[in-house]
């Protein structure tokens, strides 16, 4: 464990951060966000902060700039930057150091940039504000950073507007913005979380190289241990605002001491052997679809089968058309061409002309459980409605069935009178699954059901889905961008790219070489839980391209 010494760039001593929550119609609640956390960071080092949502990692990151988001108070401890306590620096002192000594890279670059200004203006803004460099020098430095970060046409890149570049490029532009005023410390707050895996690896490599070249110190905040293992020297694992474990990256990844850290390292340990091919319950054949008012096919001649009682995983990055395929199958977006055969009958392409049984047998579970449940209905109503609607269950019979379903999702008694706001993220997703199950479907479409959840919770959901499949014999069409999830749950896999299925077959075939180029790129981009993985991948890619 690193010693708390003096002369380090950043020292956080016994930091305590509190807030008061004001839920509407309730008494204010006192929250302890960060409790007694101490951190040191030397020049040129990278500290990874890791934990699930609500662990206080972003709050600590922002505290290094003496900033608390609305209503958050720093109530104890010291934050020493270059030997000064910035908690007592005052507004003037903070203004002088924010954007000069400490800079910040936010998760959503698209939301952080002003869409009405050119990138260059924004990248050099703080540099000019703090009079670090003249405009001419600052622009030269920005172009230099653009080049280091691997952005296309670095000389003219700054003349573009934020909407004219991709998400990954925007994230790199924000990194350039943070590095431009030559700060001592950069805080990266989940910089790659919103990106596709294939983009994430490039941004990650760019950030790592930029940190190395400029010799800046960094705090890297993420919920993905595999990502932080690639960039951090030290890692701190946080949970409920407290330090769980703090040590070198090597120690945390290879010899974690605490049970919670071990669980994080070994996450996605589900063992699922694929079932052999069976008769399809759903067959989508030659599906072509486009959204109204566009002249672009989002799906091009897509053909997939889902075997009864098995799982077909659809993998692809954002914009590959995987969610659109779900909309076509459910009838929300009628296909332009192609047929959907379900349980031996041809489904009408349009939702309105499907029979009640057609609707009952295909159910859907959404990515955001928050918006998938009516916040004004109790859990009992949410799960009970399909029972009432499809089977005419009422009163005691309905109540008993709701309870049976709650037992099936491992939630037990006492939940049926709760409102969604009174459930945790994982429980919400379980209720959504119970609602789908209530209809006794043959197929459940799961659209990124685990991507909004913390890894351990997501694991529980996947296990539940597998158990339910074994018990109920329901088939899943599992849409995801996360290959680890796919490995855990799929029997068959379809890899989609730009509206087409580029690779399709049993899991063991799809995940075995020889790969096509896209699948290879996709598979090799998934961060692995080991040090030096990033360098290894980049090196082998460079060799491959040199060989061609």
């Amino acid at each position: 464990m690193p010693k708390i010494g003096t002369g380090d760039l950043l020292e956080i001593r016994n930091l305590r951060i509190e807030a008061t929550a004001y839920p509407p119609g309730e008494k204010p609640r006192h929250l302890m966000l960060v409790d007694d956390v101490s951190v040191t960071l030397a020049k040129g080092r990278v500290l990874g902060l890791i934990g699930e949502s609500g662990a206080g990692k972003s709050t600590i990151g922002l505290a290094a700039m003496a900033y608390g988001r609305g209503g958050v108070r720093l109530t104890g401890g010291q934050v020493l930057l270059n030997g000064r306590d910035i908690r007592t620096a005052g507004t003037k002192g903070l203004q002088a150091l924010r954007g000069r000594e400490v800079t910040y890279v936010a998760q959503s670059a698209a939301a952080a940039f002003n869409p009405a200004k050119r990138l260059m203006e924004q990248v050099i803004e703080t540099t000019l504000l703090h009079k670090v460099l003249s405009r001419f020098e600052a622009e030269a430095r920005a172009v230099d950073l653009f080049r280091k970060l691997g952005l296309p046409n670095p000389e003219s890149f700054g003349r573009r507007y934020p909407h004219q570049v991709s998400g990954g490029q925007l994230q790199r532009a924000m990194t350039a913005m943070a590095l431009c005023p030559m700060p001592d410390l950069v805080i990266f707050d989940e910089p790659t979380t919103a990106l596709d895996v294939t983009t994430q690896i490039d941004v990650l490599a760019a950030i790592k190289e930029a940190i190395h070249d400029t010799g800046v110190a960094a705090i890297y905040i993420t919920h993905d241990l595999a990502v932080v293992a690639q960039v951090a020297d030290d890692i701190m694992v946080l949970r409920h605002g407290k330090t769980v474990e703090y040590g070198s990256a090597d120690q945390i990844i290879n010899t974690p001491a605490e049970a919670y850290t071990q669980a994080l390292v070994s996450v996605r340990s589900i063992d699922h052997t694929e079932k052999s091919s069976a008769a399809p319950v759903l067959r989508a054949e030659g599906i072509t679809a486009r959204y109204r008012g566009t002249d672009f096919d989002v799906l091009k001649n897509v053909t997939v089968d889902v075997a009864a009682g098995q799982t077909l995983a659809i993998v692809g990055e954002s914009g590959s058309g995987k969610s659109t395929l779900a909309r076509v199958i459910t009838g929300l977006l009628p296909a332009g061409a192609g047929t959907i055969t379900f349980a031996g009958r041809v489904l009408s392409p349009d939702l309105a002309s499907r029979t009640k049984d057609d609707l009952r047998e295909v159910q859907m579970v959404y990515q955001m459980a928050d918006t998938a449940m009516n916040p004004r209905q109790t859990v009992g109503t949410i799960i009970g409605r399909p029972l009432e609607f499809y089977f005419g269950l009422k009163g005691e019979a309905k109540r008993a069935r709701v309870q049976a379903l709650l037992d099936e999702i491992e939630m037990g008694a006492g939940f049926e009178n709760r409102y969604p706001a009174e459930l945790s993220g994982g429980q919400k997703q379980r209720v959504c699954i119970a609602r789908a199950l209530a209809a006794k479907p043959k197929l459940i479409i799961c659209d990124e059901v685990t991507s909004a959840l913390d890894p351990l919770v997501a694991d529980g959901i996947l296990k539940l889905l597998l158990d339910l499949q074994a018990k109920e014999g329901v088939a899943y069409l599992f849409i995801t961008h996360d290959l680890a999830t796919v490995k855990a749950i799929a029997d068959k896999i379809a890899v989609m790219y730009r509206g087409e299925v580029v690779r399709y077959g049993q899991k063991s075939d799809v995940l075995a070489p020889p790969f096509d180029d896209y699948t290879d790129l996709l598979l090799s981009s998934v961060p692995e839980m080991k040090l030096g993985w990033l360098e290894g991948v980049l090196k082998s890619r460079k060799m491959a391209s040199a060989g061609n």
Binding site: E26, R354, Q363, M368, N374, R376, R385, Y419, A421
Partner: protein, 271 residues
């Protein structure tokens, strides 16, 4: 559950107003239409609030006026809300040509000042309470339509509404069970406001002579009758004005509290 003091105050005053309206014939000390005293007498033990422009007891007229004013305002606001909210939700959930037709019809109605429309319509149709309520309700429903459509458009794109559609739910369930409970907060707040606007609207119409017709009286009409007294320092016109103000404030105190309760996502249990 604790009711805040402000809501308690609002509720008691509103209740008093409603009771007064119901029991006016029994508690009013004098008949509504007879001149019992001299013109514009000051408040005294005989005439608690004084007398009006032709010597009628103001307190009695206020009590009877409450009956008419509150009844007309309440019924027309309820009409405005049922119509406006239903068509607003329908437009938002169905979209397409239904939305287009309804929205443009409402635009058309809102393009003409409602007072002018009311004046024209009321001068053609027979003047009675039913016509008055219908005209006010329909004119006010355009405002409610706009609000409910705007609120429902945001709700209609939520996944839970899509889930209901995928389940095969009918329009009625989607409007009344999925959208309405989530749109209630802004609608309740609006109701408090609209009710008071309705009070002011009939008062305005009565002031212009096209609202409540004698022998019935309402607060707006009373202000008109007694406005000349203000010149001579007689407070007769201020009494009904004060009644309107107190009713407005107390109704909105209650609306604020209901708003706070309905915006809680835990069924209002935590309060």
């Amino acid at each position: 559950m604790r009711i805040p003091v402000s809501a308690l105050l609002g509720m008691s005053i509103t209740t008093i107003f409603v009771l007064i309206a119901i029991f006016a014939p029994w508690i009013a000390p004098y008949p509504i239409e007879s001149a019992v005293g001299k013109v514009w007498e000051n408040p005294s033990t005989t005439y608690w609030l004084g007398t009006d422009t032709i010597g009628r007891d103001i307190l009695s007229r206020l009590l009877y006026g409450a009956q008419v004013t509150i009844f007309v305002a309440l019924v027309s606001s309820l009409l405005a809300f049922s119509m406006g909210a239903f068509f607003g939700f329908l437009a938002a959930t169905r979209g397409g040509w239904i939305d287009m037709v309804l929205s443009r019809a409402v635009d058309l109605m809102m393009a003409v000042p409602s007072l002018i429309v009311a004046l024209v319509v009321l001068s053609v149709l027979p003047l009675n309470l039913t016509v008055l309520i219908l005209v006010m309700g329909i004119l006010d429903s355009t405002r409610v339509f706009r609000l409910s459509r705007a609120v429902a458009v945001d709700i209609a794109v939520m996944d839970y509404v899509e889930a209901a559609r995928l389940r095969g739910e009918k329009q009625g369930w989607i409007i009344f069970r999925e959208i309405l409970p989530n749109a209630l907060s802004p609608l309740v707040a609006e109701f408090g406001l609209r009710f008071i606007f309705a009070v002011l609207f009939i008062s305005t119409l009565s002031f212009l002579g096209l609202g409540i017709q004698p022998p019935l009286s309402d607060w707006g009409g009373m202000v008109r009758e007694n406005k000349d007294g203000l010149v001579y320092g007689k407070a007769a016109a201020l009494m009904p004005a004060l009644a309107i103000a107190v009713l407005a404030i107390s109704v909105n105190l209650v609306a604020d509290w209901v708003l706070q309760r309905t915006s809680s996502l835990k069924g209002g249990r935590g309060a």
